[in-house]
């Protein structure tokens, strides 16, 4: 199997992991907040809007993953261009570039989900503190943003 493997396969594996892992993280995070939110809404339906806002927060990691995946596809010509013939070395480089967003995206989305779910509990008590609940959750996202940044810079730094 490995004999037939070329750089492009590695690059696509990177793209798949970026989209997949970050997406899994977001799904877990959003799901967790969703459970908290439905706990609150079952007693207090008027809080739907506010809790939905919090639920959306851990979703961004999945988008960062998709973004990275799409950039890889674009740069390697899988979409909208000619498929590049990558060397193994280039393939590994692209794969590595995808790792920050894949790994950090997975774990930070889960962590952010926990923070946001706790924020839902805060909203249940004190709806006027929505701003603070959001900030607590967004503090976590910083690291996903930094990972995304690293992935993007790495990708743009690779010459094909």
């Amino acid at each position: 199997m490995f004999e037939s493997m070329t750089g492009i396969v590695l690059a696509l594996l990177g793209a798949a992991l970026a989209v997949g892992l970050a997406g899994i993280g977001s799904a877990i995070g959003v799901g967790l907040v969703g459970q908290s939110a439905s706990g609150v809404v079952s007693e207090d339906p008027d809080k739907f809007g506010q809790t939905l806002l919090l639920q959306a927060l851990p979703g961004t990691q999945g988008i960062y993953g998709l973004l990275t995946g799409f950039l890889i596809m674009q740069r390697t010509g899988v979409v909208g261009g000619n498929l590049l013939n990558l060397t193994m070395e280039q393939g590994w480089a692209v794969f590595m570039a995808a790792m920050p967003v894949a790994i950090v995206g997975l774990l930070s989305a889960i962590a952010q989900g926990r923070a946001a779910a706790a924020g839902v509990g805060l909203i249940a008590k004190r709806p006027e503190e929505l701003g603070k609940a959001i900030i607590f959750a967004v503090m976590v996202e910083t690291y996903a943003v930094l990972a995304l940044l690293a992935s993007i810079l790495l990708l743009f730094g690779i010459t094909f």
Binding site: D46, F48, G49, Q50, L53, A56, L57, G59, T60, I63, Y64, L66, L67, F70, L71, Q74, V79, G80, L130, G131, K132, I134, I135, V138, M139, E141, T142, V145, L146, L148, L149, I152, L153, F156
Partner: protein, 649 residues
Amino acid sequence: MAIVEMKKIYLFAHRAEKEKMVRALQSLGLVEIRQVEEKPTWKGCGDLRSIQEPEALHRLESRLNEIKYSLDLLARHFPLKKGFLEQFAGSKMTLTPEEFSTFGAEGEQVDKIYQACRRLDEGFTALGNEENRVENLLSDLAPYRDLNLPLKELGVSERVSVRLGSLPAASLAQFKDLLAREAPETHVQVVSQDKEVAHIFLIYLRDCPPVEAALKEHNWTDLQVPAHLTASPAQCMAQLEEKLAREREKGQGLLAQVEKLLPQRPRLMAYYDYLALKRDRLAVTDNFLSTDQAVLMTGWARAADIPQIEEHLAQVGETATLLARDPVEGEIPPVALKNGPLVEPFEAVTNLYSTPSPKEIDPTAALAPFFFVFFGITLGDAGYGILLTLLSLLLLKLMQPKGMGEQLIKLLALGGGAALCFGILTGSWFGDMINLPPLWFNPLDDPMKMLIFSMALGVIHLFAGMAIQAYRSIAAGKPWDAVFDQGFWYLLLIGLMLLALPAVAGLGKVLAIAGAVGLVLTQGRGQKNMVMKFFSGLLSLYDLTGYLSDVLSYSRLLALGLASGVIAVAINTMGRLVGSAGVVGFVLMLIILIGGHFFNLIIGTLGAYVHTSRLQYIEYFGKFFEGGGKAFTPFKINTQYVDLEEREA
């Protein structure tokens, strides 16, 4: 800058005009009424006491509860439909003050509705219980459906006992064996059986001890049947089903009665608000003091509003006298903000963090331009900008939100404008859907340039925050604090940045060293001990990492800006892929483009708002803002269901 000057006011009026005054204050909505704290010792003011009317208040409260109960009952069966956006902004019916005041005479009518609701609710509970009982009976009888035995035959007759009941399926075989051995004349018929339980029809000689013992040993449970069920199980079940259907029909009947009450709902709501306002007026008098002749109330008002309040009160009553004075030492006035129309929406950003304390500067004007620019970069697309502005303006028109909701939507409208500007600069129109050349450059072509630009903006933002703190120190008469805490940091940070440019690296070195030395010497000035002074000073240089991470944090401007741009491109690419496949493809493309861009707009806006706010709260406010003030909450018309049209002033 824009914290409004507050005055403490004292209002005197004749007791007879108390009601009028309170009503006037409520409709004005310009005064925050507070408990009278000081016992005035003016000459001849006599004995001051508080006026409370707990009984009247109580009556109103329980009245309000009755209406609430009725409304809850209606809402339980016929929920009020609320749109998603209305949950943020709320929607009410609009009445003129004249229409509203007619509700005062509704008391009796409302009482009738309440009684009706009570009866209906009790009816529902009784029905629910009955339905439960019948359903339980049905499920108890179900296993015996196939048995053709009138239930009236059950029981003990002269010679035999006839019983229906169940025992654990596991011990069935044993039970049968036992009976066959000890009491072979017994009739045992397994009517039905599932994994756990066997349901059995049993006839045995009356008082046959071995059978009784066997029953006890194998945990026999009798089927409990009420006496009025006499026919066979299947017939009884049919009867019960019929009864259940009748009960359900009754429930429908009750529901229909509730529905008949539905047209009264607006009336109830309006009356609720009418009483709630009355309750508020009554509750606020708790704060007053009074003599036999006069009442005294105190509170806070904006200095600028005082002439208007005075004038209005003079129109309403003859005896009102208003005194106003500046807050004295130790008094903490409530905080109201005032900003120009362009800056005002940004108050929402400030208030979501904390109301400023009355002693500091309103940071709203200072954050507005940064918020605008950052929002523009993070959303970063001209097409999305236009869409966002249009949608916000539409919302503003349709829903007419008030207060913070209004500010937030205006904020989004402005943010859309910012995204439009930045999209023109970078040539992003729904990603690459419309191909216009960028006025400046496309961040996708040179992300490093954009990264440096983002961080440079961050440095400006941070320096602005430090400048405000320096200004505060100087204004507070501590210019040296400004030099030590901000000046030296400026030197050090600017010096370090210059080091990166070869042309001025020498100058940078000098500045950085001067700044660092200054910090080491001054940052320990709070400590008493000389050694501690030195070490605290040295340790303060560690804050450099804080500044570094602050600046790095602005890289999110690039990352998020790219995110919304690239996802837009991805949506377009997908659209193009399917768009070439005939009519179906074209329709599919439209769905992908419209749905995708709308989704991206929502997520992008959320991200832009949230992250831009964060940069203000954590990086910017951290440099100077304290917060912790109490927002000005004037006594005003506060309704839950009804919006009163503004009176022509």
